[in-house]
Symmetry: C2
Subunit: 340 residues, 2 copies
């Protein structure tokens, strides 16, 4: 059993994009297990846009990580020692953890991860941990898709976007994905069955939407913000809905995300915009997991993970998210013996 | 019976605020009544912020008034001659009409106005025609007020605002109204029972909100836009709701209403913004009328009309709306013998 661990601590708050020295990679002795605690060997670390929010003391939906503290992240791991009743060695748990290879915890924020038959751990954790329920509740609860409607999703080949688009297809929508580069655009159309893709790096998003959705966009599943968001909002139709899931274009900005809004269109077209955070839906997680696993079993829902090795490179991998350098849900495989 | 009529026609589309010559006041011979038509003597003309939208060919929720056509407006009138089955002389109707003292119509867009006992026509038409249902559906359906929540309403002494605030009180909210000038502010607190008022002409709206609503605003019933809206949105709390009812600050603008949005706050605080138009609720009007009349009868809902004389001055009166020169729901009493 391990007696020390590697981990990332937040040394200072990044200004703009994350730079060398904002976080430090350290080796330290593991504390003894106290009564009610257990030792989790982390197998996968999830890298998510929201990680950057947690580093900042601008307002977020949770308190920021304190300076000097281990960096917060979503993890999946295996219990390798336990002094907590009801938690046995060998169990696989996932939930809120830290950027580390081991953590000593009382289990708060962690839940047992039941692997559906045939699903590798990386898929189950990557697709079902955070991004699947985010896509599920944001699209279905707020977006309220109806058959024949036009759905636009930005960051379409990423963790959440790929699932949003496929649920949209399951619900009978015409799905247009916005992604960066021909490979991702081909993937969402050819592999995932989206109806069309817009390459925001090479194409004028607004002009392409005018061609692809001449009658307007019914649902804009927004993850990006900035000019892409503005181009889509300007083309939303009457009674359009916009689940506001993320604003990755602004997470590295020093100023607040105060892009111009077309308030006149929101009014005249009776558009709804609603911010949401998947954590608000925790009590309905089983509903989402059941549906997602069902669609996976039927072959209607595929997910792509972008699994990287090396906890020591986690911050470089994370920075890839903000420049669109990932392709699919970004995970770090922690240590050489990660399962799945 | 009249053989000719006075009316306002739209001569050219206003650029910015409405100027002399944008509309022309004309006298013309009334056409003969055709089969299925009737002649309505207009008693009251409602002046509403939305009138300016109808003059513009920027996108609206209805087609604009065509150049040369009579100006569209909400009216209440008495049938003085009828060749339409089911419509009898003497009946009072209200609905979509024109800026005129008479109209020949087949009745489309008009409905019988049943005067609740004891209610003068100006009150029934002013409060129940458009603004009451607007307040009712916007606040209750979209705002979803809960007891103990803090509700902010802008243009608070105007037609819709005064009713929104009083329904908020009926539902147990703390109500803060934003209005222009000490007289209006005193009125909404002393006469209508709002908990507090902010005079946007004399006070810093944001600073006053910080004092009055330190825990944040749960519902922002938005009618104004611009800096006032931005000050309120920045202070909305988690899971806040913003029924977007109007943007009067922008109706005279040449550019679209693209004030900066705090998208980051919408996301982090899971705020909902939803544009609406009362015409979308036409099929539920009876529910609103019944509730409003009931509250009036119980003395829980007062309304103030700002009744002006002189159809020939209608455009001057209308311009008052955009500068806050009205005090209560603005109506024009058309002709000397208007009842009620």
């Amino acid at each position: 059993m391990a007696t020390d661990r590697q981990l990332w601590r937040l040394a200072r708050r990044p200004v703009g994009e994350i730079r060398d020295g904002d976080l430090t990679y350290e080796r330290e002795t593991l504390p003894e297990l106290g009564e009610g605690q257990f030792l989790l060997k982390i197998l996968y670390l999830s890298l998510d846009p929201t990680n950057r929010i947690w580093m900042s003391d601008a307002e977020g939906y949770m308190p920021p990580v304190a300076l000097g503290d281990p960096m917060r992240g979503l993890v999946a791991g295996r219990v390798v020692a336990s002094r907590k009743a009801g938690v046995a060695e060998g169990e696989i748990l996932s939930g809120l953890g830290v950027f580390a290879d081991h953590m000593v915890t009382d289990g708060q924020g962690l839940n047992r991860l039941d692997l559906p038959p045939g699903l590798p751990l990386a898929t189950a954790f990557g697709a079902l941990g955070l991004v699947g329920p985010t896509a599920y509740f944001g699209l279905l609860d707020i977006g309220q898709p109806k058959e024949g409607e036009t759905l636009v999703v930005s960051a379409a080949s990423g963790g959440v976007g790929q699932i949003v688009g496929q649920i949209g297809k399951i619900k009978g929508c015409r799905v247009i994905g916005i992604a960066g580069g021909p490979e991702k655009c081909r993937y969402i159309v050819d592999e995932l069955g989206f109806d069309a893709a817009i390459d925001y790096r090479a194409e004028d998003v607004g002009a392409r939407l005018d061609e692809l959705a001449p009658d307007g966009v019914d649902i804009n599943f927004e993850q990006v913000g900035g000019e892409i968001m503005q181009a889509v909002v300007a083309r939303m139709g009457r009674f359009g809905r916009m689940p506001l899931c993320g604003l990755i274009a602004g997470y590295n900005d020093v100023e607040p995300a105060n892009w111009p809004g077309r308030w006149d269109l929101l009014l005249m077209r009776r558009i709804k915009i609603q911010g949401f955070i998947v954590l608000d839906y925790l009590d309905r997680y089983p509903e989402a997991i059941q549906a997602l696993v069902g669609w996976m079993a039927e072959g209607k829902l595929k997910t792509r993970q972008d699994v990287r090795d090396g906890l020591d490179k986690a911050i470089d991998h994370l920075n890839d998210l903000y420049s669109g350098g990932n392709f699919g849900k970004l995970l770090v495989r922690v240590g050489a013996d990660a399962e799945g």
